[in-house]
Symmetry: C2
Subunit: 403 residues, 2 copies
């Protein structure tokens, strides 16, 4: 990929980011109750008013991140929508559990009534991301404190006692190291410490290191596979759960590790991140016949039991773009840029909707649009703009250094 091609892709990415932001500014704001509609059809029509807390938190975070770090998005309407989303979250998403700890709901009605609470930590994770980033924009110290308090509780659930989550302990339900947990915590450590003083950095230093070790435990089979679930002793689990691979998730972990290795100057970790979490999942996760990344695979080649295993989803491709571009920017190895280029070609020729803007989320194995909405219970204003934002910034740096 030449400098000219890099410049072309930066231009495309920048334009695409503008289009995506415009789409959500135009269609997703609930000006009556605050917060965001996320079930949005191909042409922008809201087809369900439920408010999924993951997506509420992510949209607040993304708006604030764009507002804070990119001059062209420093617009009052973005800030106001983020603030209204923050108010909605603080008012309705936090629910007290029976143990007296704070849980976040998973799903709310349009006006904030709790529909569902998951017995996991992810709603809380996106709540923290939202509050920390929003507080950086507004300077609200109470809000940042609240983010840290929720983080303390998360750490307690993950590392000390998970009973507050409400999941009963069952004799056949063995303790599992699921990659999502240390990944999310590492992401939060990076969020909470970014640009902060040594006190905050030190507070989360051991946790960050623990997350990295937990993620590395997913390298299995003599380094030839990343498995999504392993035992807490870093051994393989039996059955489908143990053999599950999620290439997009491994690639996302890859760039989290690359950020961490850059922050701490850890060259060994950088190498492992690139070899095992970027190149390896791309090798086994890429569909040689129809192109694109599979959603799920079984490391022994059995058919996964997830009905959607062979579908091509938008977000693994977003993660792959960030991972390869970041890996290239840190090493300048041309083969990493070649892989970025391959993923870029597939992604931009399949996911964006030229007619109405934004991206389709779910394609068949052959690359046809299988579900045509732009937002749904799990697709909001997050993976697409985060990918475009990250790639634009990396390309800015790369092209600035080329001059």
């Amino acid at each position: 990929m030449s400098a000219l091609k890099l410049e072309e892709s930066r231009q495309r990415i920048r334009t695409e980011l503008d289009t995506v932001v415009d789409f959500w500014l135009k269609y997703s704001h609930d000006t009556v109750h605050g917060g965001f509609f996320t079930c949005i059809g191909r042409d922008g029509k809201v087809y369900d008013e439920l408010k999924y807390v993951w997506l509420q938190g992510r949209q607040v975070w993304m708006y604030c991140r764009l507002y804070r770090t990119m001059v062209r998005f420093r617009k009052p309407e973005i800030l106001e929508a983020a603030k209204a989303g923050g108010v909605f979250l603080r008012r309705f998403a936090r629910v007290s559990s029976s143990s007296g700890q704070w849980k976040c709901a998973f799903c709310l009605t349009r006006d904030g009534k709790v529909v569902k609470i998951q017995r996991t930590i992810f709603s809380e994770c996106f709540y923290i991301m939202a509050m920390d980033e929003l507080s950086r924009v507004t300077g609200d110290k109470d809000m940042q404190l609240e983010a840290e308090q929720m983080m303390d509780q998360l750490i307690y659930w993950v590392r000390v006692d998970s009973s507050g989550l409400g999941r009963p302990k069952l004799p056949g339900d063995v303790l599992t190291n699921s990659m999502a947990i240390p990944m999310m915590l590492l992401c939060l450590v990076q969020q909470l410490t970014e640009g902060q003083g040594q006190a905050v950095v030190q507070k989360y230093r051991e946790l960050g290191s623990w997350c990295v070790q937990q993620i590395l435990q997913h390298i299995q089979r003599d380094g030839t596979a990343i498995l999504e679930n392993v035992s807490v002793d870093a051994t393989e689990l039996p059955g489908c759960q143990g053999r599950l691979q999620n290439p997009g998730h491994a690639l996302e972990a890859g760039w989290f590790l690359l950020q961490y290795s850059a922050e701490w100057g850890d060259k060994e970790l950088q190498k492992t991140a690139i070899n095992k979490f970027v190149e390896l999942p791309y090798q086994y996760g890429w569909d040689k016949e129809h192109s694109g990344l599979f959603y799920f695979l079984d490391v022994d080649g059995y058919c996964p039991t997830q009905l959607e295993w062979s579908m091509k989803l938008w977000w693994p491709h977003c993660e792959a773009l960030i991972a390869f571009l970041m890996a290239y920017s840190q090493t300048m190895k041309p083969e990493l840029l070649d892989s970025f280029s391959q993923v870029y070609e597939y992604t931009f020729s399949h996911f964006p909707d030229a007619k109405s803007g934004e991206w389709f989320g779910y394609l068949t194995q052959e690359g046809e649009v299988a579900l045509d909405f732009k937002g749904g219970p799990f697709k909001g204003f997050f993976h697409v703009p985060r990918c475009l934002y990250m790639c634009e910034r990396i390309l800015d740096d790369l092209l600035a250094n080329k001059d």
Copy 2:
């Protein structure tokens, strides 16, 4: 469809049932711990040892039903496997909940340790089906009593107080009439009362009638749609949940209602069952482009949010075959036999695996095999053999009356 074609299809169905029974007899028995492996690959290999209670109960039921009612399946190995499955279920599937009520687990390890408990009633439903049918074969009165006791508890959960299921009441989670609940209860009423004296029939009479009324509430939009979820006042619910259609489920409800209408001589109900629960879901659920029944649809034509909405699953086709053949046998209307014939052609040309026997479960919208296993967490020895068994018996009657 001529008498000759009917005879041909009976022959095919009979052969297919033999093949399917052979497959499960050969590959699914756990001779060490009892019960059944159900995660079975294309060629019979067990790829996961977890035991899903729905499928354990269903396999016990199906084995016993075949053993009890079809001479050629009155084999000791079938009875022994069913008994071992029953022992496994009684020993491991029943777990006491915190409220002191009996809950059934959803998933067990191979040796019976509880992995997961769902906060719904379906494991209990299949437990009851298994115990009632097994007790009919073995003459075990305690077991039949146990089935009735579990049924009493189910009725209490559904009609009086569901708090024993462990699901917290949330302000945004409105009470819903989901078609699965009255369908399952009606199926159990038919199971428990079949061939029993007036005392048992009378015991469940009001419940059966209530189930029928609850099912009929799903006829919506001036009779033009069957909706999967409605409010307890029989009105439409907002959003995706309210607009959801599941054609295979409606067709299954259709033949449950046809059985009920035949039992009670209710001609009006027979007519409603055929028009609204057999013909109507076939009209809106059949893929005009690629043939086959869609899994999910949105009544207003929005894209469903279920990633698998356009896939062609084995079980809706099984239910359609039973529904149309039963409707035809009750009315002798030729258009119902034509529809049976269409579903039959698609089903038998797409689902059976000529190489290794049994049926594939999950096809793409275009009819290609998307997941090639024969058994999984939700596909066991149930829908395929029940369909073949029901159809063979109906065809036996039809052809006997033709002579």
